[in-house]
């Protein structure tokens, strides 16, 4: 266990040499253990990355991937274990040490200055100077050269504030390259990208290894890992399960290693139902917080017993659509009707009374009060209703009993209804929200990113629950950035881009390429729907 590199690891890795001129390890972590209070995030993890390979680190949410990378990059200090960089024992006291050793990290959240140009951002803190002044021309030239060499399409002179998330990521990668990184760590890089952008990113990663550089790639998307990596290390519950060459693995094996059992994301079986229209949205326009148009002429309807999916890269109007439908944002034009009641005329409380249940996308901020108990969280929205309240006075006995029942019914892992929500895992917090919203007796369920940040076991339970609600005749609008989730659950999938519905695809014909093109803003003629 304490042995640095299991001999099988070395052996397997050796079978899969790609573009590596030098046999050597870019990174070797040995027996890394990291505890947060009583929680063990990493438990004796070994990770050996050969120079010149694309090494995927894969695992469920909470498996310890990000913690491990933060330790490698010097953002966290391990409680136990040692780190070797380029075959040299190194104490990575802070990121400066890691950068000096040739490591570079592209985080999930970008840190760019929106008012500066691309080149200025790339060279921020290490500007090229000439006579004491910043040499913009040289910075632009150098940025352009690097971008072209690695296929990172970006104009160095543009202002970052005007660019999309995908391009921002390229800038982050350029920043890392300029600082001399030979080993590049990417934390869930594809989470913010369209499928096409992801493919371009993979091309870039391949061009890195072609030049003898090394890539460590964190993900929980199986397809990507299968497509792009040479070697996979699987983490589960903070422990390393295995390190294997990708070519030897099937997707099923990989899932089994990640979860410890087989999980299917196949389409859920269903009875076709033709219910009445519950939600009707016509020519809806709305603005975002910056007063820019976020919804442009959205038309849709949801019938009872139907799951309508909304696909799209995050930030293309899905949040605003959910907010308008729940009364948290006003529309600038158009109508939304819930069972023939015009939502524009109703307050959030009245919309709930009219039959809305809402599982919000921003669960930690909108969905719960983290510091309050489970019971108090489950009371929200029904604090004026019997039996929880009579004559304005709360009955905490009834509230607690109801909460305990929901904890049991929805299999929430908690000690009791008095537990603070912040003590629960992401999946269980989401179940608290679902339990509250699905037992409201509402006819329309607005469900936004139900499984984001939730482990696979809980994902399945949440999907089961959504299908049960469908069978019970509820009308469901399911917003998700995960296509496999929509393909598994939705009867119809609408694709949003830049505030518009680009088109509609039947759930049983969900085709990743076609949806991906629409997500990227390309209208696919035979699927585009025009407003009636």
């Amino acid at each position: 266990m304490s042995n640095a590199l299991g001999s099988s690891t070395l052996h397997n890795a050796g079978n899969n040499a790609v573009g590596a001129g030098v046999a050597g390890m870019a990174v070797a972590l040995t027996g890394i253990t990291k505890r947060f209070g009583g929680f063990v995030a990493n438990d004796g993890v070994d990770l050996a990355v050969r120079r010149g390979e694309i090494h995927a680190v894969i695992g469920e949410n909470g498996a310890g991937k990000t913690t491990l990378m933060n330790i490698l990059f010097g953002l966290l200090q391990p409680d136990e274990g040692s780190i070797r960089l380029n075959d040299e024992e190194t104490v990575v006291a802070d990121p400066a040490v890691a950068i000096k050793a040739g490591l570079g990290m592209v985080h999930q959240h970008f840190k760019l200055v929106p008012s500066l140009s691309v080149a200025d951002n790339v060279f921020l803190g290490m500007e090229i100077r000439r006579h004491g002044l910043i040499d913009h021309a040289a910075q632009i030239a150098r940025t352009r050269e690097l971008a072209e060499r690695f296929g990172l399409r970006v104009d160095p002179t543009e202002r970052v504030g005007l660019l999309s998330v995908g391009i921002e990521q390229r800038i982050e990668i350029l920043k890392v390259l300029v600082r001399g990184a030979r080993t590049i760590i990417l934390d869930e890089p594809t989470a913010v990208l369209t499928p096409q952008e992801s493919r371009e990113l993979f091309q870039t990663l391949r061009s890195f290894v072609a030049e003898g550089m090394t890539v460590i790639f964190i993900s929980h998307h199986l397809e990507e890992v299968m497509e792009v990596s040479d070697t996979v290390t699987v983490l589960r519950n903070g422990k390393k399960v295995a390190t294997r060459p990708t070519a030897e693995l099937s997707k099923n094996e990989l899932v089994r290693m990640m979860v410890g059992r087989e999980v299917s994301f196949d389409r859920r079986p269903r009875e076709p139902q033709h219910g009445d229209v519950v939600l009707e949205v016509k020519e809806l326009w709305a603005r975002d917080d910056r007063r820019l148009p976020a919804l442009r002429n959205v038309n849709l309807e949801v019938r009872s017993g139907e799951v309508v999916g909304i696909a799209g890269v995050a930030g293309n109007g899905q949040t605003e659509l959910a907010e308008v439908l729940s009364g948290l944002r006003s529309a600038s034009h158009g109508v939304a009707r819930l069972k023939d009641r015009n939502l524009a005329a109703l307050s959030p409380a009245e919309i709930r009374a009219a039959g809305l249940a809402h599982v919000p996308g921003d669960r930690m901020v909108r969905g719960v009060d983290r510091n309050a108990s489970i019971a108090a969280n489950m009371l929200m929205g029904r604090q004026h209703r019997a039996p929880w309240s009579r004559g304005g006075v709360l009955n905490w006995n009834a509230i607690g009993q109801n909460a305990s029942k929901l904890i049991k019914d929805f299999d929430i892992r908690a000690q009791g209804s008095g537990d603070a929500v912040k003590r629960l895992s992401g999946g269980n917090i989401q179940k608290v929200v679902l339990a509250r919203e699905f037992t409201n007796g509402a006819d329309f369920l607005l469900i936004d990113q139900p499984t984001r940040g939730v482990d696979i076991g809980a994902q399945e339970a949440i999907h089961d629950e959504i299908m049960r609600q469908r069978a019970a005749g509820r009308a469901i609008l399911l917003i998700s950035v995960q296509l496999d989730e929509l393909a598994a659950l939705a009867d119809r999938i609408l694709v949003m881009f830049n505030g518009r519905i680009m088109g509609e695809v039947a759930g049983d014909h969900a085709d990743e390429d076609r949806i991906g093109m629409m997500m990227a803003g390309v209208a696919v003629p035979e699927f585009a729907t025009e407003p009636a």
Partner: protein, 347 residues
């Protein structure tokens, strides 16, 4: 849950202890013995019956102002204008007391009622701007203090001045007095009003539907909004109630202690109440104890200059140190929290 509360309480106690130790160092620096100063404070606060009654007398306005602050904090509103509401409430009660003869009892209630209305009306301006235009209530309520203090001075000196050299209104009629509790002290039923308010506020927040909504507005406003609570309206209501209680504190002080309104009649009680509420983490019941602590400091300090070489300003220093260490603690805790939060989000 219990564990959380225990941790919060022990955190506050440690913060106070740290402040007292730093205070001790400062006392050493001015050449006094910290032990002697603290013993004198203790003796001055609790030395005999009269001193205890004096401490409770000081505690009363701090407690009521503390409850006022708690009401605001619960709904996420930081009412820093309690001092001003107290002044207006005090003046309003005095005005009813000397200008409108009424039967005993009714007279007192009418005076207190106008104090409540005055406090609420005074905070209504910042509260309206907060609800309508989202202006920061901290700034607007702080500024309203100066206006309130000077406005009541103007009323006192130019409109209702009592003949003679003092800047004070004529005395109120005995029919408007808040009855005393003991013969040997000016301690009065205001203390009971404070205790009832503190416990009542705690019960309302815990056991009513309205209190639940307000609590959620304070602790998780986006969640409350999502759940159908009218966040802006509740914020307005809570500020108004907070101001009303602040006004009542002034009325109690006028009717129970001074029996007239004087310029600068109750310096700093509003701010002490706010500090007591913060030290109590916004819990009205815990504010009873923190208000007692600050009341004891105030009353004990009267003996300081008599018996020791330290100035009574040392208690102001200690209070400032308490504010610093309590807020430092909050920062440390928040940092730990946010790390934990990010971690949880990832896992």
């Amino acid at each position: 849950m219990m564990n959380d509360r225990l941790r919060a309480v022990s955190g506050q106690i440690i913060a106070v202890a740290v402040a007292l130790i730093m205070g001790a160092i400062i006392i050493l620096m001015v050449g006094e013995s910290p032990v002697r100063v603290f013993m004198t404070l203790l003796r001055g606060a609790f030395g005999d019956q009269a001193k205890i009654a004096g401490t409770l007398l000081q505690t009363t306005p701090i407690l009521i102002c503390g409850v006022a602050a708690c009401v605001g904090l619960r709904g996420g509103m930081f009412n820093v204008g309690i001092e001003g509401q107290l002044f207006l409430g005090g003046f309003a009660a005095a005005w009813v007391g000397f200008a409108f003869p009424l039967p005993a009892g009714i007279h007192m209630l009418a005076a207190l009622a106008l104090a409540v209305v005055a406090g609420a009306a005074w905070v209504a301006i910042p509260a309206y701007f907060r609800a309508r235009y989202n202006t920061n209530e901290v700034v607007s309520t702080i500024l309203s203090n100066y206006v309130a203090v000077l406005l009541t001075s103007y009323f006192t000196i130019f409109l209702f001045k009592r003949p003679g050299g003092w800047s004070e209104t004529p005395p109120i009629l005995p029919t408007a007095y808040l009855p005393g509790i003991f013969d040997f002290s000016r301690l009065n039923w205001g203390l009971v009003i404070g205790l009832v308010l503190a416990i009542g506020a705690a019960l309302v927040f815990r056991y009513t539907s309205w209190g639940y909504g307000v609590t959620m507005v304070g602790s998780a406003p986006k969640f409350a909004e999502y759940g159908g609570v009218n966040v802006k309206w509740q914020g307005f209501v809570v500020l108004l109630l907070s101001g009303a209680v602040g006004g009542l504190a002034g009325g109690v002080e006028t009717l129970g202690v001074h029996h007239r309104f004087m310029e600068g009649f109750a310096p700093g009680f509003g701010f002490d109440g706010l500090i007591a509420a913060l030290l109590a983490n916004g819990s009205p019941v815990a504010t009873i104890f923190t208000a007692l602590f600050f009341g004891a400091l105030r009353n004990g300090s009267l003996l300081l200059e008599v018996d020791t070489g330290a100035s009574r300003e040392i208690i102001t220093v200690i209070q400032a140190l308490i504010i610093l260490s309590v807020s430092a603690q909050a920062l440390v805790r928040r940092r730990g929290d946010s790390q934990a939060g990010e971690r949880r989000w990832k896992f």
